[in-house]
Amino acid sequence: MSHGPQQPTPDGGPWTGRPVPRVEDDRLLRGNGRYVDDVALPGAAEAAFLRSPHAHARIRSVDVTAALAAPGVVAVWTGADVAHLPAMLNREELRTPPGLAELLDPYVAITPMPLLATDRVLYVGQPVAVVLAENRYLAEDALELVDVRYAPLPVLVDPDQALTDGAPLLHDELRDNTAVAVATKVGDPDAAFASAHTVVSEEFRAHRYVASPIETRAVSAQVDPYSGELTVWSNTQTPHRVREATAHTLGLDAERVRVIATDVGGGFGQKGILYVEEMLVPYAARVLGRPVLWREDRNENLTASSHAREQIHRIELAADAQGHLLAVRDRITVNFGAYNMTGLVVPYNSVCHLLGPYRVPHVDIDVVGVLTNTTFATPYRGAGRPETVFAMERAMDRLAAELGLEPAELRARNLVGPDEMPYATGLVDRSGKPQSYDSGDFPELLRRAVAKADVEGVRARQREGARDGRLVGVGFAMYIEATGLGPFETARIDIAPSGRVKLAIGAPSQGQGHRTSMAQIAADAIGVPFDVVDVVGGDTSATPFGVGTIASRALVNAGNATHRAGRLVREKIIEAAARRLGVPADALDLREGVITSKTAEEPALTLSELAGRAPLPGTPEPTDGRHGTELSETVHFRPPGFAVSSGAHAVVVEVDEHTGETEILHYVAVHDAGVIVNPMIAEGQVTGGIAQGIGGALYEEMVYGPDGQPRTGTYMDYLVPTSSEIPDLDLDEIHSPSPMNDLGVKGLGEGGAIAPQAVIANAVEDALRPFGVVVRRGPLSPSRVRDLLREAGRPTAAR
């Protein structure tokens, strides 16, 4: 699809479904973005955090005398100085949904994080002190003068080791280093395994990597001396939660705190949780009585902002002679890092996405989240799904190899069919309801991926053997994604006196283009031109309630809230016009912002005439007490269940036997996210997600030494792919509208990132099949591929 210059030319058709060019671009292209660090707060002090250099240590003493005397320093605080403030919790994420609690009785340890460490540090990068100074140069100078004495303690990096008896305890109040644990069963898996024709069992590891948005985290805060209101600019994905948490921490009423997330330079989950720095900056602004700014540097972002993905799956598949799956058993271990920040979110996502598009009658899954002396891990684009898909899709390929079947054929034999929708898996979903796939056509996804991937061509080349040491392979991977997480999202619509439409939504944008796609939805729902709709997202003063842009939920929830609010406002407009014109409401229509009579030719009223005039003196009192200016509606859309997206990826790779380098020759992604509001934005989201997945599959890894020291703390050693590493993608899509909402939409922000690790691993293993290599973990960097070849007895020295 090409998106050349495209001026929307309304032909009476809906705005939804068109690749409407983004309204946010002009401003951003002129350098007029307003990211946190761009907000000028005159007289602001800047904060810098002193972070633990130890993975695990007792703090013996902290001396800030020298730092306090340094030039430009305003204040230096240690854990003792802020110990009166409550420790921080991501309350919402740590809450176990009642349904899940009742059915599965999960264990969730609560480990609040102190704003600054007091007696012990648990990971390299944990904030120990904060310096506030006239600017960041001076604050960083003074950091070096803070004298902290540590007594190192034994370090746990490996989650298996952290669970052994006698392992040092990270949190004294816990019985062991378990952060969460939950087990679930469907049918009689033991009997199914006992009677199976073939069983494969393997251990697969999803490696640790990070979201790494190009804009690092940043917070600034100011107390308005006139109103006393606290305003916080944070590049968060969840401004309302930041407002609640900040108010809680500072002992304020939430209404007195305003959180603004204007432009956010990418989030991908890393900005979807609360951080202690986010609490301390507003605190400092209040105590110092002046604005305070903190912006993170890249080293901090890589080592001290949340990590993700590290999981071990000990998975077993049982199948009959034809390859039909009889049962799946998986023992999942998730490395949580030092604090339990988000509870069941990632582990349970991994549980309830393991079966993917496949029909599995008997299931036995348990998952344990483990605390270790590494940076805490939280959701990152896909949140538990890329990891689980890696395990399941790798296991499917091992099973195919065992049975002598084409991997695509094995998949085809096990797919849930479109006629079985809605399909109940037998598991319970993340909200605790019976898990159900609302709609989809998995066989069609696979059929299209296979058709594009040229399996025959790859097999023919494989029969010819390696050319010049280059081995070709093809892989497939499929996934489902429960999107549109509740509990609600808010949209408020007001018709301004000018006739412009003000739309405020609870969900901010980190690049998803809400100002455009939400305006498309509103324009259709109300019957106004697209360009009269102004969208505000991510400002808690614009909507008192909201959740945020996380978990592929914004379009589903904010989109449907917008749609409903728009329809209600439309009704109000027509009723008000009918009263004004003295005609029945059903005689009127509203199109392109003009109220027309269904029978007469000429326009009856414009929106501005209606919205602006009613309250003026001399206007007759409306008999029902409602004024024209009350053309407003607020809707909290509560999804009745998940809108399940799905996809099939295929990739053809060439692996250089000598250098270990993997080149992507052809990347195919076929996805289904129901109704598409803006195809251009949707395609951008899918492409960006896949690029992050390719990064994780081939390059990115957050590496720790056994001493708990991060070894990939800069972009020189943490490798984010550039344009040279990401090929053009071959995209296709089908559309199974979701019956879970009026618009029929499903979430799509994360989908692209879910399959790449699995599909690339499958293709690389396929390429290395002549040597009997089994790929058990990523990233498949040249050195790891060479390790695999060496283990298989291949010499890999340079030619």
Partner: protein
């Protein structure tokens, strides 16, 4: 303790006052041109060009993503050449002619072909990396002859974008180059 809003130095009267001294011997007066306007300022030796532009001149369109020369978000044109403002000291720029993203289409001026191409090709999502890419692409279009594919690939590989997956950025740069070099090195044509 000095406050940030000290009395402005006459030499920098049009801009924010300099921060207090960490190393009093380290002040320098620099004179340069930024987006066509002459600028004179007192800067500390260690002040990064990125911070000078953003904090002192309030030209916040230039973004800082890594401060170690890898992400390219801070790219500006120094005497026509793309440079990483996070690896450049402000003092190094004395006498230089600087261009930042704000200088491309000031005020309401129509977007340049490069900027327009990023919009039309959806070459941006969060927009944080965008000014850096746009400045590098602008330099490419200002070469006397059309840069070849390898030059373009090389120039783009100096930038990280975490949102777009790069394809649409490549398209945008290609469109801008096509537009600029359509009729040969001299310009417009067909």
């Amino acid at each position: 303790m000095t406050t940030y809003l000290a009395t402005p130095d006459p030499a920098t009267a049009t801009h924010a006052a300099p921060p207090p001294l960490a190393e009093p011997s380290g002040w320098h007066e620099i004179r340069l041109t930024v987006n066509g306007a002459p600028v004179t300022a007192q800067v500390e030796s260690r002040l990064l060009l990125s911070d000078f532009l953003r904090d002192r001149l309030r030209l916040t369109g230039t973004h800082v993503g890594c401060e170690h020369g890898v992400c390219g978000a801070c790219t500006v044109l120094v005497d026509g050449e793309p440079a990483r403002s996070c690896l450049t000291l402000a003092v190094q720029c004395t006498g230089a002619e600087l261009r930042t993203v704000e200088g491309l289409a000031p005020g309401d001026a129509p977007l340049t072909p490069v900027q327009r191409a990023f919009h039309e090709c959806h070459g941006m999502q969060c927009g944080f990396c965008t000014p850096g890419f746009v400045m590098t692409a602008t330099a490419l279009t200002e070469q006397p002859e059309r840069p070849d594919a390898a030059d373009v690939a090389d120039a783009l590989s100096g930038h990280l974008c975490r949102c777009t997956g790069y394809r649409n950025i490549r398209r945008a740069v290609c469109q801008a180059l096509d537009e600029r070099f359509a009729g040969g090195p001299a310009g417009r044509g067909e």
